[in-house]
Symmetry: C2
Amino acid sequence: MKEKGHNHEQHHVLALDIGGTLTKIGMVTQRGDVLQTAVFPTGATEDFTHFLGQVGSVFDSWRAGGQYQPLAMGIGAPNASHQTGTMETPPNFRWGPHVPLRESLCRLWDLPAFLTNDANAAALGELHYGVGRGMRDFVTLTLGTGLGSGIISHGRLLTGSHGMAGEIGHINVYPDGRQCNCGLKGCLETYASVTGIRRTVFELIARGGTHSVLSKYSFEALDGKTISRAALDGDPVALEAFAYTGKILGLKMADTAAHLDPEAFIISGGLSQAGDLLLEPVRQSMESRLFTAYREKVRVLLSRHRSEEAVLGPAALAWEGLGIEVP
Amino acid sequence: MKEKGHNHEQHHVLALDIGGTLTKIGMVTQRGDVLQTAVFPTGATEDFTHFLGQVGSVFDSWRAGGQYQPLAMGIGAPNASHQTGTMETPPNFRWGPHVPLRESLCRLWDLPAFLTNDANAAALGELHYGVGRGMRDFVTLTLGTGLGSGIISHGRLLTGSHGMAGEIGHINVYPDGRQCNCGLKGCLETYASVTGIRRTVFELIARGGTHSVLSKYSFEALDGKTISRAALDGDPVALEAFAYTGKILGLKMADTAAHLDPEAFIISGGLSQAGDLLLEPVRQSMESRLFTAYREKVRVLLSRHRSEEAVLGPAALAWEGLGIEVP
């Protein structure tokens, strides 16, 4: 029945990318065409029911139109486990310790639903629809509110023994380093993320000694784009913040390479929009710390997915879950 | 022809474990019975031809007996690549940058030969014959002259894009830390290995302030067993050396867990003979740094393989290479 009136290319899935800041919902075809999208603030620090209300409104309006019959739902969310269907103690959220995400969303639209970590979903998106097509071993790093990571090994998502692999944002930079929302100290994401670079900017301003346009901004008002723009204009604090962020990230990427021997890192998220401002210190720092066997062999690439295409990851998860190859 | 006179259980492979200090050769059945072994100093700082001479003598004497018809040869060696058949710039060896190991050994006994990193071979040994049987996701750490590691993910060896994955010994502890033989500074194996703990003992003695029986030993004469024995006798320097080693190793194992979400770490090698002296600080330190999702879920186990059973890893590699399941 679902195929009536649709040709093969128009089969589609419902895909949700739930980020610390924004939630994106899309209808995505097998080829990765995004037929329709909706974006709204996730409300991570509000009630979970508030979030469900927002998702419900989008679902209702899309169903009311009648033109969509999605085959499945793919969901990417922070700390989500495909084994339990829940978000497990997501550090930047106040939705409780075990958020019954899959079950709650299925109640809003009754479909076969597949859930994974948002960053794992992003890795599947790169594998099937992005820069990772044709590669078998790579690591994605999403530098947004936090640092999400997904590992593709032997051409498939590395999930680990509890479905929770790929938390590179929580490897340690300094044992007594910055306080992380996860409760630990010195986690990589407290340095290498949009939030991390904002903290670095504030540290540099606090240290003093240089004039910076960024001293006009409150912590809440300061975003990644503002820091990038200031760096491109030659602001010394912004430039130093990118150099410091890139150096730390590059050092830790060398450690990741020593585990996985990846062909490439694929970088996405708000901070990646800074391009070479970030990538140059990253590449230099990573290369300086790479074990001999990997030197000059690991590429650092930018994701080509635009922000609104974050739904491609959850969509790829849904197609994989259905056992349907993407073209 | 090879099966004449043998029943199924007696099929066997020739297995070589080439370590920084010792080389072990064995004839190993499918069930993991070691029919015969030979052990000799590897001579890593002498000529490669000297090593080949020693292997050749063992092969000659075993062939002369006439009772063995191995189906294949499995070889584990530091920095060995299954893709090229060579050892690539092995840090603790002076055999040149690209050692043509597979080709050279095949000239000594003409058999289908399978080569991998010694530590990857150890991981296969644990998967098929050891503590890892029945697990699908674990990491082996071999604490010997250096720190070797092998990663089993989704029930198979994680090899990476160039066959060189699993070099956890070369992740960074301190950016300006101890000089490693690989050329980098602060690599984990300069702390967490037999050589590493010897360096720690010497640092502690140099710092002064406590009497230690270990001050009687030269660096060359000091071995892991001596340090373990001193620790068991309550020697303060030896005890502090184990505490320090375990703390650093545990912190870094938490980072590895954040990549791979393993069910367990399986620890082997000379330093592992210290048992709880090492494992207690390791477990405590790892647990203190584990990301929430992994807490109290990652086991730290000792390998049950005795030192002479190091050939089980290369043997498992050979059976995998032949496509023959071990029972």
